[in-house]
């Protein structure tokens, strides 16, 4: 039985539908992420799981029991808030002890569990401090310890890394993964940062305008986006309009106007005559001198329109003969070498037949 089942949940605010008929199933032990732009309904969904908000229709089942009528304090679900929401008038130890006290645990047990939780987040020396005496990362860890100490069935995390700077965020990502593995508690993580979602999750639900667009493992979300929104929102991708000429289980033959034929892998539900998009990730695109011998079926000429050097890689934006732009990513594997091609250079771009994805418009 699934740990959490969200069945056909809808939530409206006036005429605005924040969550629109969402169905999601989360298994015990999963690190599950709700990913989407702001206003996509991910936080509203999280608040309904926690019990701060109620669905207008649909069911939320925890361990098979509908919890919609259960107040937040009676749900075995704890939340790590975006602002951490540490109680400013309590010490670190008292903050962490709070859920244990509310659960009516005996004092010796509370003491032992608080110490254990403090050890778990490496904050034993800070037990007597007040929240305003901590750094952002330390507050974050106290909030995590407080959310985990009473071993909830489910830990909800509402953009918990949003307030941290980039370097600390990366450290905390690794810490989060390890912590989740260690405690084995199911995490439901909400974020708008696609790289965070890809790095942390076992599975991701990509949300847009109140609906779930795709639920999959990170590599599937990134590699096989099901529609234009997911392709565009997660990672970088180049897209061109295309029409299906031939569809077989193993491959699709597409016509891109002004460019010619493009071959991609086969996809169910696609038939000849369909209109849509062909999408290619920048790191799948090879770039070579225009005069080099073509080695791949998808091989097109163009010229360098612009490039962007960011240290480890350089992204070249190539203008193709039909006026479309395609991005190609080149690792700067030789030291001091930042630029293999210059703006205006005649180049060729190519990609394997299984690199392109056909998306319905």
């Amino acid at each position: 039985m699934a740990l959490l089942e969200i069945r056909n949940v809808t939530r409206r605010f006036g005429s605005y539908t924040a969550v629109d008929n969402v169905t999601v199933t989360i298994e015990a032990g999963e690190f599950f992420t709700l990913l989407g732009p702001s206003g996509c309904g991910k936080t509203t969904l999280l608040r309904m799981i926690a019990g701060f908000d109620l669905p207008d229709s649909g069911q939320i089942l925890l361990d098979g029991k509908d919890v919609v009528g259960t107040p937040p304090e009676k749900r075995p679900v704890h939340t790590v808030f975006q602002t951490y929401a540490l109680f400013p008038h309590m010490t670190v130890a008292d903050n962490i002890a709070f859920p244990l006290k509310m659960a009516g645990k005996a004092l010796p047990e509370i003491k032992a569990r608080v110490s254990e939780a403090l050890d778990g987040v490496r904050l034993s020396d800070f037990r007597g401090r007040f929240p305003h005496e901590l750094s952002g990362g330390q507050k974050q860890r106290v909030a995590l310890a407080r959310g985990l100490v009473n071993r909830p069935r489910l830990l909800l995390l509402d953009e918990p890394l949003g307030a941290l700077d980039a370097k600390l965020r990366e450290e905390m990502q690794i810490e989060l993964i390890n912590l989740q593995k260690e405690v084995g508690i199911t995490f439901v993580f909400v974020t708008h940062a696609q790289n965070e979602a890809l790095a942390l999750s076992h599975r991701i639900a990509v949300m847009n305008r109140g609906s779930v667009e795709q639920i999959d493992e990170p590599s599937k979300i990134y590699g096989f986006p099901e529609n234009r929104f997911v392709a565009d929102f997660v990672g970088k991708i180049s897209m061109m309009s295309a029409r299906v000429l031939e569809s077989t289980p193993s491959h699709l033959k597409l016509e891109v106007s002004g460019l010619g034929e493009v071959v991609t892998v086969g996809k169910e539900g696609v038939k000849a005559g369909d209109n849509g998009l062909v999408a290619i990730r920048p790191e799948q695109v090879r770039i070579s001198h225009a005069s080099d011998e073509p080695q791949l079926k998808n091989h097109f000429l163009g010229k360098v329109h612009d490039f962007l050097y960011v240290g480890d890689v350089t992204t070249y934006i190539v203008e193709l003969s039909n006026g479309a732009y395609i991005e190609a990513l080149l690792p700067n594997s030789a030291p001091g070498r930042a630029k293999f091609y210059d703006v205006g250079d005649a180049v060729a771009v190519s990609w394997r037949h299984d690199a392109g994805i056909f998306l319905h418009e």
């Binding site: 926690a50 019990g51 701060f52 107040p71 937040p72 304090e73 679900v77 704890h78 939340t79 808030f81 975006q82 602002t83 951490y84 929401a85 540490l86 109680f87 400013p88 008038h89 709070f98 859920p99 509310m102 659960a103 007040f130 929240p131 305003h132 952002g136 507050k139 407080r146 959310g147 009473n150 307030a163």
Partner: protein, 263 residues
């Protein structure tokens, strides 16, 4: 720029002089060894001694203290509840109704309370009517202060308490109340200072019985401004000042602590 600063400082100095010179004169003359408020003769504490031997003055002060304590207590309880309700339910009309007495002319409030006590409640005017009247105009101040504090606070603190297993009542007792406590205390102190020196509303609602401090002072002044009046005014001023400073400190301290917590 320099010139502007000079102007600004002069203006500020003028304002402060305007506000505090009359008060300073009262304080200075309360220690003056002369019956007349005309020239400085020498330092004495005899007016304070005389004050503490004036039975009627002491009764008046005692009555005022009882009124101020009772009124500030009930206004604090009711005002805190009003502030919480206004914030919690995001009310639109009630806040206006609660805050209006703060801005309403006192004489209007005095007259209407008098009519209300006599004609609606059939109450004999005395300590009780004064306490009710003072509570009425203090509630608004407490509600404003408490609500302002709540508005400054991160709403997720209260959600976090519920989320971590606290019932609504536990959330109030363990999280909400401790966090708004500085505002509650500030509201109580504010109410106390407003009540203890209120003249107009007290005058309308006191009836003929007990002497009340501000009115007692007024009665004494009608005969002549004696140094005794200066002495009691100085004491009153001191009390008020201490209360206001405590109230301001409490609120500022708590605000800075909480601002740092959620960043």
């Amino acid at each position: 720029m320099k010139r502007n600063n000079t102007w600004l400082w002069s203006a500020a100095a003028l304002v402060y002089a305007f506000l505090y010179i009359p008060l300073a004169i009262v304080v200075v003359y309360s220690f003056n060894d002369s019956r007349l408020n005309a020239e400085w003769v020498g330092f004495t504490l005899s007016w304070y001694k005389a004050l503490f031997n004036n039975a009627e003055m002491l009764t008046a002060a005692g009555n005022s203290l009882i009124i101020a304590l009772s009124a500030s207590f009930s206004a604090t309880v009711l005002g805190t509840m009003a502030g919480l309700a206004i914030h919690r339910y995001n009310l639109k009309v009630l806040p206006v109704l609660v805050f209006t007495p703060v801005a309403m002319p006192e004489i209007l409030l005095g007259v209407s309370l008098l009519l209300f006590f006599l004609q609606v409640l059939n109450l004999t005017l005395g300590m009780v009517s004064i306490i009710i009247a003072h509570t009425t105009f203090c509630i608004g101040f407490v509600a404003i202060i408490v609500r302002a504090r709540l508005q400054d606070m991160d709403e997720s603190l209260f959600e976090a308490a519920r989320d971590l297993g606290a019932s609504p009542w536990q959330t109030f007792r363990l999280v909400t109340l401790p966090l708004i406590m500085p505002a509650v205390v500030a509201g109580a102190l504010m109410s106390f200072t407003l009540s203890i020196d209120d003249f107009v509303i007290t005058f309308f609602t006191k009836g003929v019985g007990e002497p009340i401090l501000p009115i007692q002072i007024y009665t004494m002044i009608k005969v002549a401004v004696t140094p005794e009046v200066n002495a009691i005014s100085t004491l009153l001023m001191l009390l008020t000042l201490v209360m206001i400073i405590i109230a301001a400190k409490l609120d500022a301290h708590a605000s800075s602590r909480d601002a740092k917590t959620s960043s």
